[in-house]
Symmetry: C2
Subunit: 186 residues, 2 copies
């Protein structure tokens, strides 16, 4: 019953934040509401079930904090297995698919890395990110070319090409940021 299913971005976000310091469901909801972390959640309706799943899997464990009070407060912390899981997940190299399908997750992983894995892993991570982002820029540029050369038919609007242009810029920006960050950390 090892439940080897991959953590979702939301679960990873919660695990990472609890690793930083133990938190209650309400704490997490507040963070999602008031910080850019909110990108990864929308409401308690997703947060609490995710907490339950993480606990069922054994990567976090919650204990009621104020038994005395009639208003209980369940404080969650990361288990040793949870830390192992987090290390493994954060240490994975960046892949093309991760960049294309969920670039957010890449940044989320980077954000948590500092306090979980060593500097060498962070550096490897950034290197793989640079490699994949550069490759993606080339891939998109090729497609961009094919949109202009082999047919800019009469009535077609330029917005699809312009949108792809932004995609390329954005991807190049990511690679540049990674390069600068890599220098920063050296």
């Amino acid at each position: 019953m090892k439940e080897n299913r991959r953590l979702t971005a939301l679960e990873l976000a919660i695990l990472g934040m609890i690793h930083e310091s133990p938190k209650t469901g309400y704490d997490l909801c507040k963070i999602f509401e008031t910080t850019p972390m909110g990108h990864y959640s929308s409401s308690p309706g997703s947060t609490y079930p995710a907490l339950k799943r993480l606990e069922a899997r054994g990567v976090i464990s919650g204990a009621v904090n104020r038994e005395t009070s009639l208003r209980p407060r369940k404080l969650y912390e990361v288990t040793p297995e949870g830390t192992q899981h987090l290390i493994a997940r954060l240490s994975e190299p960046v892949t093309r698919d991760e960049l294309v399908m969920s670039e957010d997750e890449t940044l989320l992983r980077f954000a948590f890395m500092g306090n979980v894995v060593g500097l060498s892993v962070v550096i490897s991570f950034l290197e793989s990110l640079i490699k994949e982002a550069d490759a993606l820029v080339k891939e998109f540029e090729a497609h961009y070319q094919s949109m202009t050369t082999n047919g800019q038919p009469p009535g077609k609007a330029p917005t699809p090409r312009l949108a792809l242009g932004y995609g390329i810029e954005s991807c190049r920006g990511l690679a540049d940021w990674a390069r600068r960050t890599l220098e920063d950390l050296s």
Copy 2:
């Protein structure tokens, strides 16, 4: 039975591509596999059900193309109601929530706009995008400040702040792109 539920990003992507020119499910799968559009889908397992939903809603309609052949091919095209729906959806101004939760959708809408709505709508769209992106940059910068000033505690790693730094850069890049594109189109 008007089914006023909001189209998902995938459904919007499909509707927009079929609007450009009629297509079969297989055509769409090919596009998702071989172009940056693939960001919005993963497999036929999501594409075909989305087609069914769009047809049930009445925004597209499919007709079998090669009755003679034993291998049928269902070609979908956008209905008049579908065009109306597309116009309405693409004409919506950009909101803060759209940028935070699904920036992709914003670019998708822009990509399709050119062939669907007039230049004035495209310009309004870009203006609302600039406004919201600028606001978001300020919002994130405020949070960035609060991460550095009121406590850079001893052992804390810099990666969370660096990740947010990228978020800010990226958002600023979006606003810049929108400004340049706005000039381009004028």
